[in-house]
């Protein structure tokens, strides 16, 4: 779980069990954190975040919280089935690298086993980890075909590690995500305007309150039907803007599949939550174009055909533009 641990572990660090939930009142953004239980490991993570922020209060670096990957909604207490949001974590992991290269320290709050900065170049391939290796004189070596690129990536990774500029924090369920986001936010308030929130995670809109979770795996009924009756996840962006980190700059994402509603949904979010920037994108074209939406402006960012052909990543264009706006935010406040 900690980026600075040297020995890779083979088991998940996240406890998949769900704590008991006492009541059955309707859940909103005011009672969510009293009505739901924090993940058992939260205080351990808070300590890591505090240490990380201390390092960068001293280093003088700006700190960005990048959220990445999809949250799950368990449908059973002993979880066999869950609802998930499609997200490999490409946007978040790629963006984190460009923030690091632009001098930011990064807290990477990510869905466990989704793409990570740097390792993303080698994980989640359709082939196998071991295809990068060969045996040479009774020793495992990196296949020379891959070793040049791997050296470049390894150096960047070690640079982030050695300068303590990257902290990896995992989540799986939407409940774990919300508790951890709140902890991060209130701790990052210490950095005032130098804190940036880059909320690229795909957070569930709907969930099943703990009070209504069945204990065991749902059994097929004779009728052959299953009806899952979900409630809306409270929206916490206004709490983040108003209470948790009011001096930080906040960037949220809006992913749609219907291009007719993208801009209006983005503007709706800005009006409702009063934060600084929404980056809109369509599922179908999200790797080639995004739109920066503010209350009075829409600014499309697109890879040119030439850039797309060279496999340039659109995050290389997005991050400098976000940083420009963060510059202004710091200067204005």
């Amino acid at each position: 779980m900690n980026y600075h641990t040297s020995k890779p572990e083979t088991e998940s660090a996240i406890d998949r069990s769900i704590p008991d939930f006492p009541g059955a009142e309707p859940i909103d953004e005011k009672n969510y954190f009293s009505a739901n239980k924090p993940p058992p490991y939260l205080s351990e993570i808070e300590d890591q975040i505090k240490d990380f922020i201390e390092v960068h209060v001293k280093s003088g670096k700006r700190v960005v919280l990048v959220t990445s990957g999809g949250t799950t909604v368990p449908l059973e207490n002993n979880t066999v089935r869950f609802i998930d949001n499609f997200s490999a974590g490409t946007r978040g992991a790629t963006s984190a690298e460009y923030f690091l290269e632009n001098g930011y320290a990064v807290i990477f709050l990510h869905r466990e086993f989704s793409l990570l900065p740097y390792s993303r170049h080698y994980s989640h391939t359709t082939n196998c980890f071991l295809d990068y290796m060969i045996e040479e004189n009774g020793k495992v070596e990196i296949n020379p075909q891959f070793s040049d690129k791997m050296l470049t990536v390894l150096r960047k990774y070690n640079n982030a590690k050695n300068s303590k500029s990257l902290l990896l924090i995992p989540f799986t369920t939407v409940n774990q995500y919300l508790f951890t986001l709140r902890s991060c936010s209130t701790l990052l308030e210490k950095l005032s305007t130098k804190a940036l929130f880059y909320l690229a995670a795909a957070v569930s809109d709907f969930f099943l309150p703990m009070s209504r979770l069945p204990q065991h795996k749902i059994q097929s009924q004779a009728t052959g039907k299953l009806v899952v009756d979900l409630e809306q996840v409270p929206k916490f962006l206004s709490r983040l803007v108003d209470d948790w980190a009011p001096r930080a700059m906040i960037v949220s994402f809006k992913l749609e599949t219907d291009d007719n509603i993208l801009i209006s949904k983005a503007k709706g979010a800005l009006e409702k939550y009063q934060h600084q920037l929404v980056i809109g994108n369509l599922l179908q074209t999200r790797k080639r174009e995004v739109v920066f939406v503010t209350l009075d402006n829409e600014d499309w960012i697109r890879l040119s055909d030439d850039q797309a052909e060279k496999a340039m990543e659109i995050e290389e264009l997005i991050i400098p533009k976000v940083i420009e706006q963060h510059d202004s935010w710091i200067n204005r406040n």
Copy 2:
């Protein structure tokens, strides 16, 4: 997608879009394959399977189809949300290795990005691929701390690759799984009793028929509620036993969280589908004990404290016992 491809690819080989679905009649095991469209890549996979079976008709090896990981049920046509079954693919990936070590050829039908035989020892760690590497004199090398074990694993992997004994076939949705299972089964019938089915995948019981899939991402309503009304996935085990591969031996798995119903559910499946063996396991204890259930017997297999302490994998006990039963099946038929 193909095990024999040398160059790792960074993008998914699976097309995530869902073909149009014409009608809205109720779906059962008789009309499923006419009412739903096959994945566009299916014929390519069938060619790979045919080639693989040809190799092992000649090599004389038995062939086991191991299914592994969970299937998804998309809730939207342009998929943002889906229901998933919790499964990392540990049982399947580990079992595949022990089948290979016991002389079987393995078709590994797995959820894309779930654990794979051999690479599982290094993927899905809570740390990073790059933690296994160091820079030494301007070259990337394997960290000596990990190189001995990695050499052992790499040799086994290369052995499977060079003897063409392992074919990796991915799926994501339950529809992709069902079409591919049918193709595998009918092709494996050529091997008669020497084919074994080891169905360890966590297949969804419920799905949303394509005719009722909304085109775009489901929007939050003012009521704040979302009701997902799912139908039962038709059961295909009887088709497999009766029609697709009637001479093969078939082993299915039953995962429950409630130990009071495990045995009765396993026996119920045997009576209903008339196959040879159900391996029962409980979510909570699945890595330490399983139960082999036949119509007249229950045989618990457990790791001893000593074995558990040495981190022995229970699949090392399971696979030889399954192979014993496959021996008898071949001799009897």
